[in-house]
């Protein structure tokens, strides 16, 4: 009834940050699952991987809620499309984490050579770092708006974005290295192991890929 209460619509950033928190929890759980995988603790890994799957569902639900609430009739500090595409990318980070979890679940670990295992863990940790940085980036974006797009806060945001891009570059390198390794060891590995390793690696590097896409969208939000 009171116009003033309706004039100021709810900020999309609070739910966006909430979604990001769930995505963060998803990748953190995946990280723990990878550690368990490295130790060969299959039971623990299984439990954590299933948890990743559950968290991804939670993220999906929040995503749907945000989409429904973002009416095209809102006048926002950032473009609506940017918010929607960012949300999509942020959600893809959780999807990618779920993909890795799925691959972890299909096969008992233990037959993967130690050096490959180490390389995968390294990739995983780095890739998940990119996903964690995305959370920082969206929190910082809220501050950029809060400050009325002050140069100082924009600068901080760019630093985070650069960091994400740096991490993604590194993963690309690791990914190539791992692929070469797998083919070098082709004779020692069963086709199943090779297929398994390559897919775990691919889905892991996908996490940082989507993180980078999300970061790119934040850059566009600021540059309107």
């Amino acid at each position: 009834m009171q116009v003033w209460t309706k004039l100021f619509a709810k900020s999309p950033f609070k739910p966006l940050i909430k979604h990001s928190e769930v995505v963060l929890e998803t990748v953190e759980t995946l990280e723990k699952a990878l550690r368990a995988w490295e130790r060969g603790d299959y039971e623990e890994m299984r439990r954590l991987a299933i948890e990743v799957d559950r968290l991804e569902d939670v993220a999906d639900r929040i995503k749907a809620e945000i989409r429904d609430s973002l009416s095209s009739k809102l006048m926002m500090a950032v473009a609506r499309e940017d918010v929607l595409i960012y949300l999509h990318m942020q959600d893809k980070v959780a999807d990618a984490a779920e993909d890795t979890a799925k691959w972890l679940l299909v096969k008992k670990p233990g037959t993967v050579p130690k050096e490959v295992r180490e390389l995968i863990i390294q990739m995983g940790v780095e890739s998940i770092k990119a996903a964690k940085l995305v959370h920082e980036a969206i929190v910082q974006m809220d501050r950029v708006i809060e400050s009325g797009f002050s140069e100082k806060e924009i600068e901080k945001e760019y630093e985070i974005i650069h960091e994400i891009e740096g991490v993604e570059n590194e993963i690309d390198g690791l990914d190539t290295e791992l692929m070469q390794r797998v083919f070098e060891m082709a004779d020692e590995l069963s086709w199943g192991d090779g297929f398994y390793i390559l897919n775990v690696a691919r889905t892991l590097s996908n996490i940082s890929d989507k993180a980078k896409d999300a970061a790119e969208r934040i850059r566009l939000m600021m540059n309107r």
Partner: protein, 403 residues
């Protein structure tokens, strides 16, 4: 006392009440919404400062017909002025009550103008309306929000430049918030010279009253704003400072609103009073102090009785408005309204406030504004004049037949 005069006084008071319930409450909503003041405090601030603004800064001379919207030489029968004023007041009050019911922030100025035009047309046809003036009113639908918007846009940009872009935003906020409050008092001091002391020279007013008042207030505020809590986040620190500053600017809005809008309620009363005591008079009539006090009191009562409810809802429901934004809206709106009322431009406080909100939105300061609601608000502005006119015309016809 002339019974019609008594009726007009009662209606004038009712109109003032409606202004307090709708307009004053809407003007202070941003301060309540940003959590700077509670609805109770808002009622006290509005009660005292709306009265002060109306009584001291209200026009001591008013046009017989608000904003000269009708040609007074065409009204030869004093009774027409009496019945017309009553019809206009009643129509405007009714329209404001309807608008308040639906929560629409409509202009009180335009309600009364519509009411006056309505009875004028019934009495002497469309030729009696000063269409040039009416054009100005229509122009103000566009001008008020635009000027309010530009002002808010610029102030918001200045605020972010001077505070958020600094190394230590909290320290900058401690210096700059007293500056803006001081600036408000430069305006208030100058208005005091012009309105209360009836000074003529703007330069003298600014130099002798405005600037000293501003500097004094700046120093006092600077000393008062001390933060004694560990600041983990500079943004929260800045907002805390502006929450305090907004208490002052919300009072500034109440003062400006009282000064600008009281004439809507008491103008017709003054006109009828002039007819009752002196017979039919010319374009302008003096406004006795007691009539100004009546208007101020009516607004204060309106805020306390109904506006309180409006502000309570707003306080609970707006959660997205921060204090730096609320401060910007308050400061720009009050300054524009005071300057316009001094220049004699027909701006509406409500329109300026809505314009200021949009201005901050365009400066990318508000995370989300509902465009639908903005559209509804603008529509309510456009229908105010015709609707108030129609109601007034009907009442006037009845009065002429009965009287």
């Amino acid at each position: 006392m002339d019974p019609w005069l008594l009726v007009t006084i009662i209606l004038g008071f009712a109109m003032a009440w409606a202004i307090g319930a709708n307009d004053a409450a809407n003007s202070m909503s941003t301060a309540v919404g940003a959590g700077a003041i509670t609805p109770k405090q808002a009622v006290i601030i509005a009660g005292i400062l709306e009265f002060t603004g109306a009584y001291f800064f209200g026009k001591s001379v008013t046009e017989t017909i608000r904003k000269g919207i009708l040609d007074p030489t065409k009204i030869t029968d004093p009774n027409v002025l009496v019945y017309g004023s009553i019809a206009a007041l009643l129509a405007a009050t009714l329209w404001l009550l309807i608008a308040t019911k639906f929560g629409m922030p409509v202009s009180t100025t335009h309600s009364i103008i519509g009411g006056i035009a309505g009875y004028g047309i019934v009495y002497a046809g469309t030729a009696i309306v000063n269409w040039g003036k009416m054009g100005q009113v229509v122009l103000s639908w566009i001008l008020s929000p635009v000027i309010g918007g530009i002002m808010a846009y610029l102030i918001f940009k200045a605020l972010t430049k001077s505070i958020f872009e600094r190394k230590n935003p909290v320290r900058s906020a401690r210096l700059w918030s007293p500056f803006w409050i001081g600036l408000a008092f430069v305006v208030i001091g100058t208005m005091f010279y012009i309105k209360v002391l009836h000074g003529k020279n703007l330069g003298t007013g600014v130099l002798m009253y405005g600037i000293p008042a501003g500097v004094a207030v700046f120093l006092i505020t600077y000393l008062l704003i001390r933060l004694r809590f560990p600041i983990s986040d500079p943004f929260i620190g800045v907002e805390t400072i502006f929450r305090k500053a907004q208490v002052v600017t919300s009072g500034y809005v109440a003062l400006a609103h009282g000064a600008n809008d009281v004439a809507n309620a008491i103008g017709p009363v003054a006109a009828v009073y002039a007819v009752a005591t002196m017979g039919l008079t010319g374009m302008k009539v003096p406004v006795p102090r007691w009539i100004l006090a009546l208007g101020g009191l009516g607004i204060a009562v309106g805020v306390a009785t109904y506006g309180y409810k409006v502000m309570e809802t707003v306080g609970k429901k707006i959660t997205e408005l921060t204090n730096t934004r609320g401060f910007t809206i308050d400061f720009s709106a009050a300054t524009v309204v005071l300057a316009a009322s001094w220049l004699g431009l027909p701006v509406s406080t409500t329109h300026v406030v809505v314009g200021a909100v949009m201005g901050i939105g365009l400066a990318r300061g508000v995370k989300a504004i509902n465009r639908d609601i903005v559209r509804d608000i603008v529509i309510s502005w456009f229908i105010t004049v015709p609707v108030a006119g129609l109601i007034s015309a009907a009442i006037f016809k009845i009065l002429m037949m009965v009287g």
